[in-house]
C-alpha cells in the first residue's frame, strides 16, 4: 500500500504564554513543530505499512526550514519525503495550497491512500484535505477515529459524527483525515534520526510539479487577509473564597445573566 501523508510545520503553541502584565502573547523563542494532528496521520500510515507493506511518503509545503518537519517524520519511520518550497507559493490560501499539494501527489505517481491530520493548529481550517480530494478526483472520509479493516480494494473506517460515529467503507485511492483518538504516535528513533540526517530530501518548485502559475500564490488565492487584530481580551476575575454566601451570590448572578436556565 502506497501512502502519502501531508503534514505542516507550525508554531508550538505550548511555548506561547500570556504575559500577565500586558495580557498579550509572548511569542519570543517559539519553536516550530510538526502540526500535532499530523503525527496521528504519520503514525497511522506507519502502522498500515507494517501490516500491509508498501511505502510511506511525507509531503509538506513551506519555507526551506520546513525540512525539519519532514526529517521528524523520517525519524519516526517514513520512507521518503518531498519539500514543496518556492517564493511563488507564498500567500497561498487553502484553495491554492490544496492545488499545489494535489499536483505534488500526482508527480509522485501511484498511491492508494492520502492521510492528513484533522487540521493544522495555526490556521485551523481543515479545508486543505477535502479540497485536495476534489483536485485529485478521489473520495474522502474526514475526522476518522479508527481504521477498522483494510482489503485489497477498500478500507472500512469509523468517522466521527455529532452524535456518535458512522462506519464507512471507502475504495482506494481515497483521502482520509484522522483525529487524535486514532492512535498514540511513536517518538522518533535514534536510527531514524540518523537516516533523516543522511537523506536527501528533494525540494520541488512550481515547474517540478507542473503548476499553472495563475493557480498558486496570491494570484491563485481567492481569499485574502484584509486585517489582523487582537481578540477581545477577557478581563479575568479575582477569585473569591468558596463560602456558601459567595457561592449563592454567583449562582444567582449566573441564573439572572442567562435569563432562566431551565425552560
Amino acid at each position: 500500500m502506497n501512502i502519502i501523508v501531508c503534514i505542516k510545520q507550525v508554531p508550538d503553541t505550548t511555548d506561547v504564554k500570556i504575559n500577565p502584565q500586558t495580557n498579550t502573547l509572548e511569542r519570543d523563542g517559539v519553536r516550530t513543530i510538526v502540526n500535532p494532528f499530523d503525527l496521528f496521520a504519520i503514525e497511522e500510515a506507519l502502522r498500515l505499512k507494517a501490516a500491509h507493506g508498501g511505502k510511506v511518503t511525507i509531503i509538506t509545503m513551506g519555507p526551506p526550514q520546513a525540512k525539519c518537519a519532514l526529517e521528524e517524520a523520517i525519524a519516526m519511520g517514513a520512507d521518503d519525503a518531498r519539500l514543496i518550497s518556492d517564493r511563488a507559493f507564498a500567500g497561498s490560501d487553502t484553495l491554492a495550497t490544496s492545488y499545489i499539494l494535489s499536483k505534488t501527489v500526482s508527480s509522485i505517481g501511484s498511491y492508494d491512500l492520502i492521510l492528513c491530520g484533522k487540521q493544522a493548529v495555526d490556521g485551523d481550517t481543515a479545508q486543505v484535505g477535502p479540497e485536495m480530494a476534489v483536485h485529485l478526483g478521489i473520495p474522502q472520509v474526514m475526522f476518522v477515529r479508527r481504521i477498522a479493516s483494510v482489503d485489497a480494494k477498500d478500507l472500512v473506517v469509523e468517522r466521527m459524527t455529532e452524535h456518535g460515529y458512522d462506519r464507512v467503507k471507502a475504495p482506494f485511492p481515497c483521502l482520509i483525515s484522522v483525529v487524535k483518538d486514532i492512535n498514540t504516535p511513536r517518538p522518533p528513533s535514534f536510527q531514524g534520526r540518523m537516516r533523516a540526517k543522511r537523506m536527501e530530501i528533494p525540494v520541488l518548485s512550481p515547474a517540478d510539479i507542473g503548476c499553472e502559475e495563475e493557480r498558486i500564490g496570491l494570484d491563485g488565492s481567492p481569499t485574502w487577509v484584509e486585517r489582523i487584530f487582537a481578540p477581545h481580551a477577557r478581563s479575568g476575575c479575582t477569585a473569591a473564597e468558596g463560602t456558601t454566601e459567595n457561592i449563592r451570590d454567583v449562582a444567582e448572578k449566573i441564573e439572572a445573566k442567562l435569563e432562566h436556565i431551565w425552560e
Partner: protein, 397 residues
C-alpha cells in the same frame, strides 16, 4: 512578492516587528527587514507602520457583482430527519446579510424526510427554501452533498453561501468551494458586509490568539463555515410566508464511491459539548476518575453537557468526544464551568469564546481565572457540591 519595506522611510520604530503574527520581521541596523520565507502576506505590518514605510500590493477588489444574482444562501444541516440548531442560527445571520445587500435569503435543505422543516426555516427568516428530500441523502455523503450543492450554486449563482462549522459542514463545504474554485473561510465568528458590498469574514487564527478579517473579493460565491452557538436565531414568526422549491435530482448526482454501512449514536446522556448551551468541564484537579461524579451531578442540575481537558481524556477518565481544547472541540456555550482546570493555553483556545466562564481551582494564580468572569479559590470537593445545591434551589424556585 507583493510586500516591501521602503528603507528610506523606515524609522526603525519596531511597530511592525510586534504586529507580525509569524515573526517574519527583524530589525537589522535600525531598519525593518522582512524574511520572505516566513511572511504570509497578511499585511498586519502595513497597518501599524506610522510612517507608511511598507508597500503592499493586494489583489484588486474587482468583481462583477452582477454575475451573482441569487442572494444569500444557507446550507441547513439535518441528520436523518432532525435539523441542527446551527441552521436556525445561520438563517438569522443570513437574514441580516441579505437585508444588508438588499437580496433574498434562501435555505438549502438536504436529507431524507426533512421537507417538514422548510416551513420552520421560513418562519425563522428565510424567503425561500430549496428542498432536496431523497432516499439517497439519508446518510451524509461528502461527495453527494457537495455535488448537489455545487450544482445548485452554479445554476442559481448566489453571492454568499454559509454552512455551520460542524463536522459535516467542515467536511463537505471545502469540496464545494474547490469544485467552484472559489474562496472558503473556516469557522467564522462574525460576518458583515463592507462598503464595497463584500462579505467580511472574521475568524480566529493561531488557536484564537489572533483574529483575522478575510475577504473573497474577486470570486463568487463567497463561502464561509460559521461556528455553532455564535450567531443568534431570529424569533419564530408563524405568520411569515415564503417559497418552498422541491428540487428534482438527476440520478448521477447521487452516486457515492463511499458507503455508510452503519450510523451509530453514542453516549446520549452526556450531551454534545459542541452545541451545548452550558458545559461543566473537569480537569486534572479532580484527582481520580470517580470524582467526575461531582461534574455529572452539577451538569445534571444545569441540564448541561460534560467536558474535559486533554489531561483527563488522555488518562481515560472521560472519552475523547468530550475533550474541549485545541486537539478536541472548540466550544462557545453561554456558560462554561471549569472545575479543577488550571488553564493551559490549549484548553483556553477551545473555550475562551464562552459568554460566561466560572472557574473553580485551588491555585489562586491559575491561568483559568484570567479568562473567567467568576472564580472560586479553594477545595473543589467542598465548593462544587455547594454550587450544585445552590443551583438546585434556584431550579426548584
Amino acid at each position: 512578492m507583493g510586500i516591501r519595506i521602503i528603507a528610506e522611510k523606515c524609522t526603525g520604530c519596531g511597530a511592525c516587528v510586534h504586529a507580525c503574527p509569524v515573526e517574519a520581521i527583524r530589525m537589522v541596523e535600525g531598519k525593518a527587514v522582512i524574511d520572505y520565507d516566513l511572511c504570509i502576506l497578511c499585511g498586519a505590518c502595513v497597518e501599524v507602520c506610522p510612517v507608511d514605510a511598507i508597500e503592499f500590493e493586494q489583489p484588486s477588489k474587482n468583481v462583477a457583482h452582477a454575475e451573482a444574482k441569487g442572494g444569500v444562501w444557507v446550507f441547513c444541516e439535518a441528520v436523518g430527519d432532525k435539523i441542527n440548531d446551527v441552521s436556525f442560527e445561520l438563517i438569522g445571520e443570513g437574514r441580516k446579510l441579505a437585508d444588508g445587500r438588499g437580496v433574498g435569503l434562501t435555505g438549502v435543505l438536504i436529507g431524507q424526510n426533512i421537507s417538514g422543516h422548510a416551513e420552520t426555516l421560513i418562519q425563522h427568516g428565510a424567503d425561500c427554501v430549496r428542498v432536496i428530500d431523497n432516499e439517497g441523502c439519508r446518510y451524509f455523503y461528502d461527495e453527494v452533498y457537495a455535488r448537489i450543492l455545487a450544482d445548485l450554486i452554479e445554476r442559481e449563482k448566489p453571492e454568499i453561501v454559509l454552512a455551520g462549522a460542524t463536522l459535516m459542514g467542515r467536511a463537505f463545504f471545502p469540496r464545494v468551494a474547490a469544485k467552484l474554485r472559489t474562496g472558503l473561510t473556516a469557522d467564522c465568528t462574525a460576518l458583515a458586509i463592507d462598503n464595497d458590498g463584500h462579505l467580511v469574514q472574521t475568524r480566529p487564527a493561531f488557536g484564537g490568539n489572533i483574529m483575522a478579517n478575510i475577504l473573497c473579493p474577486s470570486r463568487r460565491p463567497q463561502m464561509a463555515t460559521v461556528r455553532p452557538r455564535v450567531m443568534r436565531p431570529m424569533a419564530r414568526d408563524s405568520a411569515r410566508k415564503g417559497e418552498i422549491i422541491r428540487e428534482d435530482l438527476s440520478a448521477d448526482l447521487l452516486v457515492s464511491r463511499v458507503v455508510v454501512e452503519e450510523s451509530v449514536e453514542e453516549e446520549g446522556g452526556a450531551g454534545n459539548v459542541a452545541i451545548a448551551d452550558i458545559i461543566v468541564s473537569g480537569g486534572g484537579g479532580l484527582g481520580r476518575p470517580e470524582n467526575f461524579k461531582l461534574i455529572y451531578e452539577l451538569a445534571d442540575v444545569l441540564e448541561a453537557a460534560v467536558g474535559g481537558t486533554r489531561t483527563v481524556v488522555d488518562r481515560g477518565w472521560i472519552s475523547y468526544p468530550h475533550q474541549v481544547g485545541q486537539t478536541g472541540k472548540t466550544v462557545c456555550p453561554k456558560l462554561y464551568i471549569a472545575v479543577g482546570i488550571s488553564g493551559a493555553i490549549q484548553h483556553l483556545v477551545g473555550m475562551q469564546t464562552a459568554e460566561t466562564v466560572l472557574a473553580i481551582n485551588k491555585d489562586p494564580n491559575a491561568t483559568i481565572f484570567r479568562v473567567a468572569d467568576y472564580g472560586f479559590v479553594g477545595d473543589l470537593f467542598e465548593i462544587v457540591p455547594k454550587l450544585t445545591e445552590e443551583f438546585k434551589k434556584l431550579k426548584n424556585g
